[in-house]
């Protein structure tokens, strides 16, 4: 369902060249749960950005359900990000001036759904992650774990078929990490989505089906 063929990414800034990914190829099936691990600077975040259509590779192709992702236009790629992908980042997840509910309904509004419909779905999703009563709170009044649950709700509210999480529990304590991870796996069961999680937490990786090890921009088996 997802196939990466010889993906390379070279960052260039001020004469310095950095080859973050050096020809990466692998396949993912629909509904698979994958952990991406590797030392800092291995290219994990870079890989996730490419898979999520946030950036384009320097070379290589990626097929998503038969579609050649990087031959898509700016507009088509943004539609892919909006409808197909759900992102969860470690930091800078929420718009601090908006309520949790507004944050969660944002992807739906961007996708062109009506305000009423979006808010209804967003409320439902917040209830699902156990934050129904905090829907109208601003993010900075929520705890770190709660904020990350709001981010999960926002990533999943549009029922994406691919969820990409870059160290989603990176700044949470063990108990909260467990809770967030449980939630992610439960929802994965419900929605039948492919889940790709970058994490340093080895105990969490054991709960996923497959592990992709990255080292210096290459697969390390």
């Amino acid at each position: 369902m997802i196939e990466l063929i010889n993906i390379k990414k070279i960052y260039k800034d001020n004469e310095r060249e950095c080859e973050a990914l050096k020809g990466l190829s692998f396949k993912l099936d629909r509904g698979e749960k994958i952990a991406v691990v590797g030392p800092s600077g291995a290219g994990k975040s870079t890989l996730l950005h490419l898979m999520g259509g946030l950036d384009r590779p320097s070379a290589g192709q990626m097929f998503f359900e038969g579609k050649n992702l990087f031959s898509l236009s700016d507009k088509e790629l943004s539609k892919y990000r909006n409808k197909t992908v759900g992102f969860i980042f470690q930091f800078h997840n929420l718009l601090s001036e908006f309520s949790a509910l507004d944050n969660v309904s944002l992807p739906l509004l961007i996708g062109g759904e009506s305000k009423r419909e979006s808010v209804k779905k967003a409320q439902g999703m917040l209830e699902r992650v156990g934050l129904g009563s905090l829907a109208h709170s601003k993010p900075n009044t929520l705890s770190g774990g709660e904020q990350q649950r709001v981010a999960i709700a926002r990533a999943l509210v549009g029922r994406p078929s691919l969820v990409l999480a870059d160290e989603p529990t990176g700044n949470l304590d063990t108990a909260n990490s467990e809770k967030v991870f449980d939630l992610l796996l439960d929802l994965n069961q419900e929605i039948n989505m492919t889940l790709v999680v970058v994490t340093h937490n080895l105990s969490l990786t054991t709960r996923l089906e497959r592990i992709i090890r990255l080292s210096d921009g290459k697969l390390a088996s």
Partner: protein
């Protein structure tokens, strides 16, 4: 569009602090430069209009110069009829012969050269659009003359002593001094004309000079702008005669004005661009302050183009508002000047004595479109340069 407005709301959140100051500075700069631009445009085009009007008040639309000096009137009238038939909507409305002669006015203060121009007094109102001030009971020009207002101001007498040097030998110069009653004064608004011309009738000219030649024919048109075309037709139909349109007759003045206009345009455009560069800075700052929002929205599926356009739209709205305000400032300042008349012009240099202005809708439209377009392009250009994947991904790691 609906979402674009929502986007505005989301990106507009960070309006506080530095960003609002940067925009306020840019806003003032653009308003002031637009105000300046509009003042220049209004005044220059006012000059142009005023000169055009004044020139047309004294000059006929076309002057057709006579070849032989007499006996051509029938030929001319036939040619005009022919042209009027040819051009369907009777372009030529009137024709009147004229003759000019040099003359010297004797006055207690000395001698003054002037140009004596003989016309058909009946045509005074049809061919010329002069401001007239005629003394009671002296409407008949056949024994008197009309002086230009500036000339009359220098002489201020009811009778004029005049010599026509033409044909008179030195010995009988004294004998040829003639006393002519003044019928009144005329005013065209142009110092050149008002200070040098005296108008009279053919009978009077004949009495003063004995024999005279017709210098040419003055022709009035329905539409003054058609003059060059009709002048060409006249020359084609009257071989040997030269027809000069009013704009050609005053071409050096109009060329100088056009030149002045171009120079002003360049200077004002430069000033405007300097002002608009503030907008570049303000937009860049605003993109920077909104970097997290931009990258988050991007990751949630807003296209790059939409994000860039939202800044372009901001620039456009910025441009329209500041241009409108600039126009308003220019308008108010000129209206105040018009009312109080602080600026006095020396008519000997400028031909007119008050600052002319023309608030044509065309100038307003051109300024507004130009200004807001530049602001739009500037903001869009900055956004296009700064909203790129390679910058966006740095903020969402």
């Amino acid at each position: 569009m609906n979402f674009l407005m929502n986007l505005e709301k989301i990106l507009g959140i960070r309006k506080k602090g530095v960003r609002s100051i940067a925009f306020a500075v840019a806003f003032f700069a653009v308003i002031l430069s637009m105000g300046l631009a509009f003042i220049c445009l209004f005044v220059i085009s006012g000059f142009q209009k005023e000169y055009q009007k004044s020139i047309l008040a004294f000059n006929a639309h076309i002057v057709l110069f006579s070849e032989q000096g007499r006996g051509e009137e029938k030929k001319v009238r036939e040619a005009i009829e022919h042209i009027n038939l040819q051009t369907q909507n009777a372009m030529i409305t009137d024709v009147s012969p004229f003759a000019v002669s040099e003359a010297v006015i004797l006055d207690s203060s000395g001698l003054k050269a002037c140009i004596l121009k003989a016309i058909d007094p009946q045509k005074l109102k049809n061919v010329y659009a002069l401001e007239l001030n005629i003394l009671d009971g002296r409407e008949d020009l056949s024994h008197s003359l009309l002086l230009g207002s500036e000339l009359a101001y220098q002489i201020s007498k009811n009778e004029i002593k005049m010599i026509i040097p033409q044909g008179a030998s030195l010995t009988d110069l004294k004998r040829s001094i003639q006393t002519i009653p003044l019928a009144g004064i005329f005013k065209s608004g142009i110092y050149e004309f008002d200070s040098r011309f005296a108008l009279t009738s053919f009978e009077m000219l004949k009495k003063l000079t004995g024999v005279f030649k017709i210098t040419g024919y003055e022709i009035a048109l329905q539409d003054p702008l058609g003059a060059p075309r009709v002048a060409k037709l006249l020359e084609e139909n009257l071989p040997g005669m030269r027809a000069i349109s009013w704009d050609e007759l005053n071409s050096s003045l109009f060329k100088a004005m056009q030149m002045e206009k171009s120079v002003f345009f360049i200077v004002v455009t430069l000033i405007f661009f300097v002002a608009a560069f503030n907008l570049l800075g303000a937009t860049a700052m605003s993109v920077y302050l909104c970097r997290y929002e931009i990258s988050l929205l991007y990751s949630l599926g807003v296209s790059k183009l939409k994000l860039q356009r939202s800044f372009g739209l901001t620039g456009f709205l910025f441009g329209i508002t500041s241009c409108l305000m600039g126009w308003l400032i220019a308008f108010l300042m000129l209206k105040l000047e018009d009312y109080y008349g602080w600026i006095k012009l020396d008519p000997k240099i400028y031909f007119i004595s008050t600052l002319p202005m023309d608030f044509g809708p065309k100038l307003f439209g051109v300024g507004l479109i130009f200004g807001s377009l530049i602001c739009f392009l500037f903001a869009l250009g900055v956004a296009k340069n700064l909203i790129q994947e390679k910058y966006i991904i740095n903020y969402i790691k």
